[in-house]
């Protein structure tokens, strides 16, 4: 009975994380298209939501790799996963509130690592895995995207310099629809699978699936795809505004260069088994496309805040994950702790949300 309830809570929390992952990362896919008016805001997020949903069905191969090689998988319990998911979701909401694009994948890894350390100490964390799979890619992703987008926009400007701006901008806006669509598909493929992996691991721990027969049930695929698509459609407008217009004032050629460079880096890294964060790549691409035109075109203060959020993601989500795990264990090893924490979050979060709505309107698609 207790384990059934715990499983339901972990599945619900995983889908809630997936939803925040969708609305937090909408900006990665649509911000440049909205900023350059390649697509109207609602159409852009609608298209991104649909392609995120479709992308979730394209491949299921990486669903099993969540936290693999970073923590000792055999010590991970549903309560650790619960702590990690709540830590990651809390960090996603915090960075969304401040309009900062941070990596949802790093938040999830940070949350799970924090909860694992709280449960079993640092010995359960694989240091080399953390450096090789998280820290080095976090340094590589924005740097590489910055350089690729910067060089791409310099070549582009050299080619189209003497053309009339009207038709040229229309051409690049058309191109942005395709490059944005590719990004949305790859986001759905990568990020929905993390949730599928978490739910499947919980099902294995519960005994519903044999550990030596890892497969993702259809209902898990459909529910994860739906949650990320719904989150994307809701749209994290604060982050869209930061990514689309607060880092640089973008023209359509820069938007196209940033998106194409981003798609190239994400797909190349994915192909060679070196997964990078979509958020880090796109933000780096936007900064590179701006800096290549004029270094002062980038608002370095905003860029600095974003980098600070990236640096804080792992430790902050880890601390939250550890705290939630510790709090759950105060009530024993059963479902009581997670039930009470979930109930408190739902009631407290609902009250804060209602208060916020009554005070000041949320950022609208037009403002973004």
């Amino acid at each position: 009975m207790h384990s059934d309830l715990l499983l339901v809570i972990v599945v619900g929390t995983a889908l809630a994380f997936d939803f925040t992952n969708g609305f937090h990362d909408t900006a990665n896919v649509v911000a440049t298209s909205i900023s350059t008016r390649a697509l109207p805001p609602r159409l852009a997020v609608g298209m991104a939501a649909l392609l995120n949903f479709v992308g979730a069905f394209i491949s299921l191969q990486v669903a099993a790799t969540v936290a693999k090689g970073i923590v000792e998988i055999d010590v991970v319990t549903p309560t650790i996963v619960f702590g990690g998911l709540i830590g990651a979701t809390a960090w996603n909401i915090t960075t969304w509130y401040f309009g900062l694009p941070s990596s949802s994948s790093h938040a999830l890894i940070g949350g799970v690592v924090g909860a694992t350390i709280a449960a079993h100490g640092t010995g359960a964390v694989i240091g080399d895995g953390l450096v090789g799979k998280v820290i080095v890619p976090a340094l590589l992703a924005p740097t590489l995207a910055f350089v690729v987008a910067g060089l791409a926009i310099l070549v582009t400007y050299a080619l189209v310099a003497r053309l009339r701006p009207g038709p040229t901008s229309r051409g690049f806006r058309f191109g942005q629809v395709a490059s944005g669509g590719l990004l949305a598909l790859s986001h759905g493929t990568n990020d929905a699978q993390k949730t599928m992996g978490v739910i499947t691991l919980a099902l294995i721990a519960h005994g519903d699936i044999a550990a030596n027969n890892f497969h993702v049930p259809d209902w898990v695929v459909i529910s994860a795809a739906t949650a990320i698509a719904l989150g994307t459609y809701v749209g994290g407008w604060r982050i869209i505004r930061t990514m689309g217009s607060r880092i640089i004032k973008m023209d359509p050629a820069q938007g196209f260069a940033a998106q194409t460079a981003g798609a190239a880096v994400i797909l190349a890294s994915s192909h060679y088994g070196f997964p990078l964060s979509t958020t880090h790549v796109i933000a780096g691409g936007v900064m590179g496309a701006g800096a290549a035109k004029r270094v002062s075109a980038v608002r370095w203060g905003v860029a600095g805040n974003i980098v600070l959020a990236w640096i804080l993601t792992l430790p902050a989500a880890g601390l939250m994950g550890a705290a939630i795990y510790g709090l759950s264990r105060v009530f024993g090893t059963g479902a009581l702790g997670p039930v009470l924490i979930t109930a408190t979050i739902i009631v407290g979060g609902g009250a804060l949300f209602a208060r916020r709505l009554s005070r000041r309107p949320a950022i609208t698609p037009t403002e973004a």
């Binding site: 090789g132 880096v265 060679y272």
Partner: protein, 81 residues
């Protein structure tokens, strides 16, 4: 550097850097050439220079075909993971 090589697949890393540079800069440049060709095609046709117009049309269509192929390759990469 040696320590880094023990925790990171440096060969994969080098391939990621090279492929990203080639694909990111290459596809953006090819699309820019397609836009340039479309604009020049319209100008040449207006001026009645049909030979040049046909040449720019062919270049533009080739550029778009290369970009479309790149999108297809991207989807294949996603599906084959």
């Amino acid at each position: 550097m040696r320590v880094l090589a023990t925790v990171v697949d440096t060969s994969a890393l080098a391939k990621v850097v090279l492929s990203s540079l080639l694909a990111g800069i290459g596809i953006t440049a090819v699309f820019a050439v397609a836009i340039l060709s479309a604009t020049r095609f319209a100008e040449m046709r207006r001026e009645g220079r049909m030979t040049e117009a046909v040449g720019f049309a062919a270049l533009g269509i080739t550029g778009l075909a290369v970009c479309t192929a790149a999108v297809v390759v991207g989807i294949v990469i996603m599906a084959s993971k």
